[in-house]
Amino acid sequence: MTALDNYVAPTSLEQAVVQLQELGEVTILAGGTDLMPQSHAGRVKFKRTLMNIRRIPELRGIVREGDEIRIGALVTISEMMAHPLVREHLPLLVSAGDHFASDQIRNAGTVGGNICNASPAGDTLVPLMVLGAHVELASKPDDTLFRRSMPLPEFFVGPGKTRLAPAELLTAVRLPIPPKGFVARFHKFGTRPALDISAISIGVAGVLKDGTFSQVRVAFGAVAPTPVCGCATEEALEGKKLDAATIAAAARAAQDEVHPISDVRASAWYRKEMIHNMTKRILEDVSANH
């Protein structure tokens, strides 16, 4: 185990970003469900200071702000799943939560932690991407609190790597309230029904009107170093009628545009096959139920 020099538990966002700026070498702890196993396994080394961010009220809560829903970084997967705003407007996140870990982990693990951990198999990432999420970041490089925002896909750089600056904190994700006719699906494919890491995952969203699919967003998990957008698949679907030919073309496009690796969970070949079959299945389901 790593010996720590320093432990801080700021009680406001202001205090946290000041400390981040001053202390420099800081490891941020939210639910700890990624951090602790990774440190036990020796994959992550704690920096000089461990900062527990769980006492910062500004990072909590789910609220509606105009046409957006803001989910605080510290919101746990369980809280997200239970929240009325999420259930009403973003049911996709509820179904994603349903396949996330176990109850114990969902009670501790946070949305912010899932995003900052930046695993290509992180199970909120693909749904958040197809819902059009932006991340909200805060820091205090000089005397003023500096906030910035970026579309979620831009935030990811590689496995465990993000555009978060060293003294920056992820404060929330913002999601537009979906328009009328919006449909969204998330499929986590693992080899068992519970407590599994995605071998692949697929998110599809768009507006379905008179059988035509538009404003289509597609994203894939666990097929690249980060969760990725399925641009070719989107193109195969955008403005099209969801008929058998479109679905077949989209499934092929999906299979062709992903370049997964082989690892202990699945081979690249099998992952591509599953991207094809599951994309097809999701689209068939969308077309049959709307």
Partner: protein, 791 residues
């Protein structure tokens, strides 16, 4: 006091295990929870290379770390002797490492963290050797030797050659062990055959995944007596073996077994961490506790035996089996533990599950640089059954017979003595077959699925059956298979049963207590079972081979009957009645014919105490009845009774993903007699889930000697939502020798599942897979790869 008491019995009832409240309440103190005053913590440095010479080990920095009490390497324990089934394994490695689990050095320190930090300070220089990762490569003429003879008995290795009794001698080739068995003439059998199949089956690595990881505490007292808190399944054999390894007087070794967090065969051998902990205790003069991490448990505890098995078998058009030829290659790993001896059990299934006149069986266990296999519930039988039962279905199909009829035609009957010499005194095999088939609606489903399999559709249903034969009345592996009992009665009518048989979670305490209650007419709450201290309990061979209920049960009955006789004699004298007319019921002495109470048992016992009329401590023993022991050609009987079972598995195959779901398992088990119905159900349900893991999800992935998934994230145990519906039926054949007619059942339920699942997948899809496990990707490939590659 009641006036009359009718006879009541606990046999066949659903009895909660005696240790259930403690376990469910979280109060059980496992080895992890035990601490001894003044103890240090031990940690082991394992190899960083798969196969290499050790050029140098520098422990100076580790020794200098504050809080470290000892750092030892092989050089510090010149007296160490090789351990294991073939004595090919030094606890601390001397000149080379042969697998990644190999122990190079060990530390004892004030805390686990300090011990851990000290390991990181040990510097080892290696010189890599070529890695043998495939048993086929180990057999090549130019293959490097994994156990070359210690070079030239130089001064440096003198102690190896000189060690008395056991010495490490090396091997001129990479063959660890061979088994050859023959009955009849397979060539003649083949000439009579109308149908012949030959296939090669691949059986993979899995490991026990005990909830409690391995651990030990070792402590010397000032007189040099060694006390070990150990999770061994075989305390008495280990006492002797430890004495040999440590060059100690066995009388100075005491083993206390704290409650065990899972055994399943994994604690049947001595592993390096155990003597190493003793070395550390010796070096420091302090008690030393060593407990594995979960990752270490995956890397350094034994596995099930991986096997490549080629089976050639035939039958006549009328369904009569003609012959079987089997060649297996066992990947022995770097050292020899019990896994190498699994052919002993495999051949029983091959020769004797069905009537087969001609059999030939060759098997080789071959050294590689992989993890080594130990014993594991089923002991080779899962592997043999996987091959044999798939061929049974294939032959049935080839001659146009249904799988049930084909099996019934060849199944064993009671009274049969097989060509191998196994004598089936009680045998409910045919009843198992018909019961499981009827209860599951096997035949109708089998035919319906077959008709549906070519139709379009993503999900396919399948049903498959497999049967098994396993020892159920002890195993004549050692010259004798015995167990002793001491039974003591106090003056309140309570009974203390001191038995040699260990409880490893199988529920033996409860069953033994029930058997005693049956004889002494006392309630279950009046019985205490003591079974975990070699200084107190009488001798026993150990927990293996599904033997405890049978052997220890008979021994306990023997003691209880002796006590019963004494009690009834004394009561008869006191009451002026005839002992033969008396009975013991619900803590009373009663008249047998009408239940009229004569006196309470407690009162009688108090009168007997401090009198010269009776001794209230009795001893007894049980050895399996004499029979024709196996000769060196493996002909002869191996158990006093045999267990039988048929399991029918229903699956749903998702052809889009290759995911196979187990929908339902119907099992019919010949258990001789139900003693504790609840315990039996628990054993069978647990065994089915273990078999399910073996069939579908579990795999220790070993690549070039490296375990790639040493954790529960990627080593996939079955989770709760995957567990199928189960319908378990018991066949009571009332074995003549069994305790109250019962036979062993511990291993049986895990054995058939993989074979039955293979047959069910075939029934669903028409695709036969001969390699385990049936992971989604493997099944998907089998369903689609050929077609896709052609397209």
């Amino acid at each position: 006091m009641p006036e009359t008491i009718q006879r009541d019995s606990l046999i066949g009832k659903r009895i909660t295990k005696l240790d259930a409240p403690e376990k469910a309440g979280g109060k059980t103190r496992y080895i992890q929870d035990l601490d001894v005053q003044g103890q240090l913590y031990g940690k082991i440095l394992r190899s960083a290379r798969v196969h290499a010479k050790i050029k140098s080990i520098d422990t100076s920095a580790a020794k200098a770390l504050p809080g470290v009490h000892a750092v030892i390497t092989a050089a510090d324990v010149p007296y160490q002797r090789p351990i294991g089934v073939a004595k090919d394994h030094f606890p601390l490695k001397t000149d080379r490492v042969r697998s990644l689990r190999d122990e190079i050095a060990a530390v004892a320190a004030e805390t686990e963290a300090i011990a851990e930090a000290a390991l990181k300070l040990i510097k080892v220089e290696y010189e890599d050797l070529p890695v043998l990762a495939d048993p086929n490569d180990s057999l090549k003429p130019d293959a490097p030797l994994i156990h070359p003879e210690p070079h030239g008995a130089t001064a440096k290795h003198d102690h190896l050659k000189q060690a008395q009794g056991i010495a490490y001698l090396g091997k001129p080739d990479n063959i660890a062990m061979t088994f050859d068995y023959q009955q009849g003439d397979v060539a003649a059998g083949e000439r009579e055959s109308d149908v012949v199949f030959e296939d090669t089956f691949h059986l993979h690595y899995v490991t026990h995944c005990c909830m409690g990881v391995s651990g030990i505490i070792a402590e010397f007292d000032p007189s040099g007596n060694l006390l070990m808190y150990s999770n061994t399944q075989v305390p008495f054999l280990h006492k002797r073996e430890f004495a040999e390894i440590l060059n100690m007087d066995p009388a100075r070794i005491r083993i206390i077994q704290p409650p065990i967090g899972g055994g399943f065969g994994s604690k049947l051998d001595i592993y390096p961490f155990e003597p190493i902990t003793v070395f550390l205790a010796k070096a420091t003069g302090r008690p030393v506790k060593l407990v594995f991490t979960r990752e270490e448990e995956f890397l350094a505890s034994p596995t099930r035996q991986p096997v490549i098995l080629t089976l050639r078998s035939g039958c006549k058009k009328d369904g009569t089996l003609t012959f079987r030829t089997v060649r297996t290659l066992h990947d022995n790993g770097a050292y020899t533990s019990w896994g190498a001896t699994t052919p002993f059990v495999m051949m029983q299934t091959i020769s004797s599950l069905y009537r087969v006149p001609h059999c030939l069986y060759h098997t080789k266990a071959v050294y590689t640089n992989n993890p080594y296999a130990g014993s594991f519930r089923g002991y080779g039988n899962l592997q043999a059954t996987f091959a044999v039962e798939q061929h049974m279905d294939m032959m049935a199909e080839a001659i146009g017979m249904d799988p049930l009829e084909f099996r019934l035609k060849n199944a064993q009957d009671p009274g049969e003595v097989t060509p191998q010499g196994m004598h089936f005194k009680s045998c409910g095999f045919k009843e198992c077959l018909t019961t499981a088939a009827e209860a599951s609606g096997f035949l109708a489903k089998f035919k319906a699925n077959e008709a549906d399999k070519a139709k379009p559709g993503r999900f396919k249903r399948g049903v498959g059956m497999a049967s098994m034969l396993h020892v159920g009345g002890g195993a004549k592996i050692y010259p004798s298979d015995g167990c002793g009992t001491i039974l003591k009665m106090d003056d309140f009518g309570s009974v203390t049963l001191i038995t040699g048989a260990s409880e490893i979670g199988q529920g033996s305490e409860t069953v033994l207590a029930q058997l005693v209650c049956e004889e002494l007419g006392v309630p279950l709450s009046a019985v205490r079972v003591i079974n975990n201290d070699t200084e107190i309990t009488p001798w026993d061979v150990g927990v293996h081979a599904s033997r405890t209920t049978f052997i220890a049960g008979n021994s306990a009955i023997g003691a209880a009957r002796k006590a019963r006789g004494k009690i009834l004699d004394a009561a008869a004298k006191m009451a002026g009645l005839n002992a033969a007319d008396l009975d013991l019921r619900a803590g009373h002495i009663v008249e047998a014919k009408n239940g009229t109470v004569v006196m309470t048992l407690a009162k009688l016992l108090r009168q007997l105490h401090f009198s010269d009329k009776a001794e209230l401590v009795v001893t007894s023993f049980y050895y399996e009845p004499p029979s024709k022991h196996q000769d060196k050609h493996f002909k002869g009987d191996v158990s006093a009774a045999y267990a039988w079972a048929t399991q029918v598995v229903e699956v749903e195959v998702d052809t889009d993903t290759g995911i196979v779901r187990l929908l339902k398992v119907t099992g019919a088990h010949d258990v001789g007699r139900i003693l504790n119905r609840l315990g039996l159900e628990g054993q069978i349900e647990g065994g089915i889930v273990m078999g399910q893991g073996y069939a579908l999800t579990e795999e220790l992935m070993v690549e070039n000697g490296v375990v790639r998934n040493p954790g529960f994230r990627d080593y996939k145990l079955v989770t709760a939502p995957e567990i199928p519906e189960m319908d378990v039926r018991f066949i009571e054949t009332m074995d003549g020798e069994g305790p109250q007619g019962a036979k062993g059942v511990g291993e049986a339920p895990a054995i058939c599942i993989a074979a039955a699942t293979a047959n069910a997948i075939y029934n669903a899809t028409g695709v036969r897979i001969m390699a385990l496990p049936f992971t989604p990707e493997k099944v998907y490939r089998a369903l689609h790869a050929a077609k896709k590659e052609a397209a």
